[in-house]
Amino acid sequence: MKPEPLLEVENLAVALDGKTIIEHVSFSLEPQQVLAVIGPNGSGKTVLLKTLVGIIPPAHGVIRWRPGTRVGYLPQRFHVDHYLPMTVQEFLNLKSPAKGALHRTIAAASMGEKWLRRDLAHLSSGELQKVLLAWALLDEPQILLFDEPTENVDMVGQESIYKLLHRLQDTMRVALIIVSHDLHVVYRYANNVLCLNKQMVCYGEPEEKLTPDTLSKLYGDYAFFHHRHSNHQRDDHRYGHE
């Protein structure tokens, strides 16, 4: 028997200022599954996540969450003002966590107790991402939506966040929707992949759907293959080469 999906999306379209950003997007996600969303810059990946969590209203179509689903969202950009006087603990407390949740969460996000006293403004972007992850984990979500940053993320941070997400999938049994720029991440972690370029170009298992044809449709031939080739050596031992 198939489990009831956490999320079903049917024929979703989103418009901003009257301009269609994405359309004809349909997919579903079961508990503990990982869906990777890939596509070139400006293809509407971030908009899709923002629509799923309710920041942007859909123009058309249906988004059906299983009732009572707790959703954690890690936005792509989390700009912290250089002078913001706030510790990690004060920031996490803004969510009014249940008693004990704070300490459970930082442990789950691989952060030690001394993290709580650190200044938010002095964290690197990779460290901030961990804080955001802790924020999302505070109310024990069944699904995490992770919008991978394109720039300014220290490589160490980026590598560990995927390991971390993978571990969370095992230990906390969360489902994941990951917006990624890195095909390694997709092949390694995702059950399904959704290729987006304004419209849904492909949807299904990565090994089956990520054909050269699809990829060139998605990224354009030359830029994509040239890029992959020249970075191939280094790609093997690091993530997020974009």
Partner: protein, 254 residues
């Protein structure tokens, strides 16, 4: 010190506490210039009060609310650049107010006048200040989150649109009760300078809020006391005291 002066001092300290608290959100949200511009909107309202002989405070308050609604509509409903529109709107309001108001009253409206505060006005200001402080503390977490990370506020079911409106209303109320002490031109200084100073001194969020409130109170109380002894307008003394704290805090900064 006379009894009325002590009452004014007490009321002023509450108004200052409200300013310091609201000012900290303005600094975090980078809205300090908006509050400065908004304060000018009070002038036509005050002018109407002076000309038509009703309490200028009410006119100022009404004008501020119209200003708040206008900003909110511009921000949420139009694609106009908020900065330029508010710039145009508020300088116009300032000019219109200055035109309406009799010249000898103009300086008072600009820089505040404590002598003219009536007991009724003091009671009203004090109540509003207490209301501002209670609402700001009740909504402390959502207001803070909205100011620091608007994108995350939706994840805790906080509507950014409503928080923006709440913040604007709090600013308008703070301006309206502070005007009689420091005037239209200096009022934003009472909320911005203490918060900016507090940011230089604070080691966490709690201390930031505490410094901001304390510095606003000390500055206004100091201003009123100095004005009592020397021939200075309280508003000017207050702002200069607040500014000297800021100057000192620059050296303190980590």
């Amino acid at each position: 010190m006379t009894e009325p002066f002590l009452i004014i001092l007490g009321s002023g300290m509450l108004v200052a506490a409200a300013s310091g608290l609201v000012g900290s959100f303005l600094i975090l949200r980078r809205m300090s210039l908006l509050s400065d511009a908004l304060s000018h909107v009070a002038l036509p309202g005050i002018a109407l009060g002076v000309v038509l002989r009703f309490t200028p405070l009410w006119g100022g308050l009404a004008a501020l609310f119209i200003g708040v609604i206008l900003i909110w509509l511009i921000e949420t409903k139009t694609k106009l650049a908020t900065e330029s529109v508010t710039g145009v709107l508020f300088v116009t309001a300032l000019a219109a107010g200055a035109l309406l108001i009799p010249e000898h009253e103009l300086l008072e409206a600009f820089f505040g006048s404590v002598e003219k505060i009536t007991l009724q006005q003091i009671a009203f200001q004090t109540l509003i200040a207490i209301a501002i402080i209670s609402v700001a503390l009740k909504f402390l977490k959502p207001l803070t989150l909205f100011s620091v990370a608007p994108d995350l506020s939706i994840s805790v079911k906080v509507s950014p649109v409503k928080m923006q409106l709440l913040l604007l209303v709090l600013i308008a109320l703070t301006i309206s009760v502070g005007i009689s002490f420091v005037g239209v031109l200096l009022i934003s200084a009472l909320s911005i300078i203490p918060a900016a100073t507090a940011r230089n001194l604070a080691w966490n969020y709690r201390s930031f809020l505490a410094f901001s409130v304390a510095l606003a109170i000390v500055s206004l109380a100091g201003g009123l006391l100095v004005a009592q002894r020397y021939a200075v307008t309280p508003g000017i003394a207050t702002v200069l005291i607040a500014a000297s704290f800021f100057a000192v805090s620059l050296f303190w900064k980590k």
